[in-house]
Subunit: 383 residues, 2 copies
C-alpha cells in the first residue's frame, strides 16, 4: 500500500536480475496527476552517487512524473559510464510513460563501486512498467530492500487527502551507506514550493536526527510527489504536521531495523540554549562507540555520556549537568546521583535525557547500540 | 628505564590497594633538578576530570617538581569531594618531598564517576615515596596501566642528553576514555617556554593524530619535565625532533595495544590544500565504523573511504579522487581501478593513501579496526 494509498499513483516492484539472490530489485512509482508538483532532498555527502547527480538536475523545476529505484548496486564511484546508465534508465522510463526523462528521478542502492549491467536495468524498466498498478506499493517497497529485514511503509490520513511513504535503509544511517531511500506520495493539492518547505521542515526533525552509525551515505534521497488527485488543498500547517508525522514514523522504522542493533536509543537534550546545540549534544552521544557498546552490554555508563557532551561547543556548565537513563537520574550536577543499578536496559527502547540547564530548547536524536552483529554484518558485507 | 633514564629523575610504582586486582596502581615521578622547567598539555574535552582541573593551575608557572598518577579510578564527575581528594594527594606528595603542593601534577585514570578512597590514596603516596629510586621507571609505567596489556616506554638519546617517556591508554583514544596519560622526562637544559613550544609541536603530529575510537577522554595529560641534570642545552630543532620522535613512538605503542584491535591503520592524505585539511580527511576515515569494520573483515572497501572523505570540507574534486590500500590503487579518478583482491589485509599493519590532488600538504592519522573484541571489552568494562 503506502505510496499507492493516495489517489493518483501507481507503482510496481519486480525481480529483474540485478540481485544474485533473485529477490525483487527494481521499483517504479508514477504520479498520474493531475498535478506533478514535487520536492526532493539529497545526501549532503560531497561524494554523491550518479543517480543523485542526475536527480539533482531533474528536481530543479519542481516537476517529477516518476521515481525509479533499483537495489543491487549503488552506481556510486562508477564514473561517466555509471552516469550514462542512470541517464538511459531515466530515458527508458520516460519513453515507457510518454514523459520527458528530465522528469524522472533515479535512485540506486547497494554496494558502492559496483557497476550494474545496463541492459538488465533497461529490460527491467520495461518489466516493471508492464506491472504498474494502483496496489503496487507493497511490491515497490520490497524491491528497494538491501540489508533491510522488513519493508518500511507508512500512511497518514488528512481530511480528504492522505500521504503515503516507503523507505529503505539499515546502515550508513546518519542519515546514512546501505543508503536511505524514501518515496513519499500525496494526493493533496500542494504547489512545489510549499512541498519543499514542508519536506525540509519534516526531514529536519526526523531523518536528519537519525544517526544509527555516524556514517553518511552517498545515495540518500527523499522524494515527495503530489498528484493533487484528491482535489483538496490542506493548510500548510496541517500538511507539514502530517508529513512530519509520516517521516518520523518511517525514521523510527529504519531505526528499528538497523543492522545488528539490539537497542533503539532516543537521546533527548533539554534546556539547551538553542535547538542546534541540543542536536549537536545528542549527535555527539549518538556517535560515541564507547557509549553505544555500553548500552549493548546493558551498562548505564553515564560517564561516557558526559565525556561526549564535553566534546561539543554547546553552552553548559561542565560542573552542572544532569543525565537520566530510562528516567533514572544517574547523574546530578555532574556527580553520581541515583543508583545506576536501577536502570533496566533489557528492553530494546532506551531513553537518555541530558539537562544542559542553559536555555529553553530541546531536541531528540535517535541511534542504535554498537553490537557484535553490527561488526559482523559490516565486516562481511561485500564478501 | 624510560622516565628515570635521563639524569635527575627518580620514580616508583606500587600496589597500594586502589585496584581490586591487587595490581600496581600508584606511580610517582620526581624531578630532582637542578632545573624544574616543565610543559603540559591536557584533554580538550570541556568535561574535565578533577586531576586535570587541579593540574591546569599547577602548570601555569612552568615549574613542576613531581607527577603523581593513580589508576583504579579517574576521579572524574566526582564533584567537590573528588577535587579535594586530588588536592590532598598533591599536598601529601609536597609534604613528603619538601616542595609546595602547587608544583605537583596529579593524574588519575580508570572508571569515570568512581570515587577513590582518600585514605588509601594518601597512605599510598607515603608508600611510593618510600620506594623512589633511579631505576623506578619500570614500576611507574606498570602502575598506570588499566586495560593496557603492556607498559609503554621509550627513550631517545640526544648528544649528551636524553628524553624518556611512559604512557598508558588503550581506549577512548582520540587522543582519548580509558585515558591517555604520558610523563616525559629530560635531563636537557630547556626553559619552560621552549619546552611548551616543543611539546605542542610534538603532540600535534603524534598523540593528536591518534584516533583509535573517536572518543575523547576527560583525563588526558601529557607532562614534560626537564631536570637540566646533563648540563647540556640542545638546539630547539634537535630537542623538538627528539621529542617528536619519542611522542610518535609512544603513540604507536598506544595504537598497537588499543582495546580489541586486530589492525593498526595508517591513513595518509596526500596532495591536500593544507595540512589541516589532510588531518580532517584522515580523521573522517578513522571515525567511520563501516570502514573500520570492513578492515576487520579484511575487506578493502574503498567505497567507504570515499563516502567518509565526502563528509569533509577539504578542497577536492569528488570525481577525481585516488585511493590506495597497502599501496594497491583500488580507486583512480573516483572509479574502480586495480583489483581489490590484490589487497592482502591479513597483517596487522594497514596503510590507506588518499590523493586529493588539491595542493602540497599531507598528514597521517592512525586508527584501529572495529572488532568483536572492541565491542566486548567496552560493553563489559564497568561490570
Amino acid at each position: 500500500m503506502s505510496v499507492t494509498h493516495p489517489a493518483g499513483f501507481v507503482a510496481a516492484g519486480a525481480a529483474v536480475g540485478l540481485k544474485a539472490s533473485g529477490a525483487k530489485d527494481l521499483a517504479l512509482v508514477v504520479n498520474q496527476g493531475p498535478t506533478f508538483d514535487s520536492a526532493t532532498v539529497f545526501t549532503s555527502n560531497r561524494c554523491k552517487a550518479n543517480p543523485v547527480l542526475w536527480s539533482e538536475q531533474v528536481v530543479k523545476d519542481g516537476v517529477v512524473r516518476a521515481v525509479v529505484l533499483n537495489s543491487g548496486g549503488a552506481n556510486c564511484y562508477t564514473g561517466p559510464e555509471g552516469f550514462l546508465t542512470t541517464h538511459q534508465v531515466a530515458e527508458e522510463v520516460g519513453t515507457a510513460l510518454g514523459v520527458g526523462a528530465g522528469d524522472v528521478v533515479v535512485c540506486s542502492t547497494g554496494l558502492i563501486g559496483l557497476v550494474n549491467d545496463r541492459a538488465t536495468l533497461l529490460a527491467g524498466v520495461r518489466t516493471v512498467h508492464g506491472q504498474l498498478s494502483a496496489d503496487g506499493g507493497q511490491d515497490a517497497a520490497e524491491a528497494i530492500m538491501t540489508t533491510d529485514t522488513v519493508p518500511k511503509q507508512v500512511v497518514v490520513e488528512g481530511e480528504g487527502w492522505s500521504i503515503g511513504g516507503m523507505a529503505k535503509g539499515a546502515g550508513m544511517l546518519a542519515p546514512a551507506l546501505a543508503t536511505m531511500l524514501v518515496v513519499i506520495t500525496t494526493d493533496a493539492v500542494v504547489p512545489a514550493a510549499e512541498l519543499d518547505r514542508a519536506l525540509r521542515a519534516a526531514t529536519r526533525v526526523s531523518f536528519d536526527r537519525l544517526d544509527s552509525d555516524g556514517c553518511q551515505s552517498t545515495n540518500d534521497t527523499v522524494s515527495l510527489l503530489a498528484s493533487g488527485a484528491s482535489g483538496v488543498t490542506p493548510s500548510a500547517e496541517a500538511f507539514t504536521a502530517a508529513l512530519t508525522d509520516l517521516c518520523t514514523q518511517l525514521a523510527k522504522q529504519l531505526l528499528a531495523d538497523a543492522e545488528g542493533a539490539d537497542h533503539e536509543i532516543a537521546i533527548t537534550t533539554v534546556n539547551a540554549a538553542t535547538e542546534d546545540e541540543a542536536v549537536e549534544v545528542g549527535r555527539s552521544v549518538a556517535r560515541s562507540n564507547l557509549f553505544k557498546a555500553a548500552v549493548f552490554g546493558k551498562d548505564p555508563n553515564w560517564g561516557r555520556v558526559l565525556a561526549s557532551v564535553g566534546t561539543t561547543s554547546a553552552a553548559f556548565d561542565p560542573a552542572d549537568l544532569d543525565v537520566a537513563m530510562n528516567d533514572v537520574w544517574v547523574c546530578r550536577n555532574s556527580t553520581p546521583a541515583e543508583d545506576p543499578a536501577l536502570v533496566d536496559l533489557s528492553a530494546r527502547a532506551v531513553t537518555v535525557t541530558i539537562d544542559l540547564k542553559a536555555g529553553p530548547a530541546q531536541a531528540t536524536v535517535w541511534t542504535n547500540d554498537l553490537t557484535h552483529a553490527y561488526v559482523h554484518e559490516n565486516s562481511a558485507y561485500s564478501s
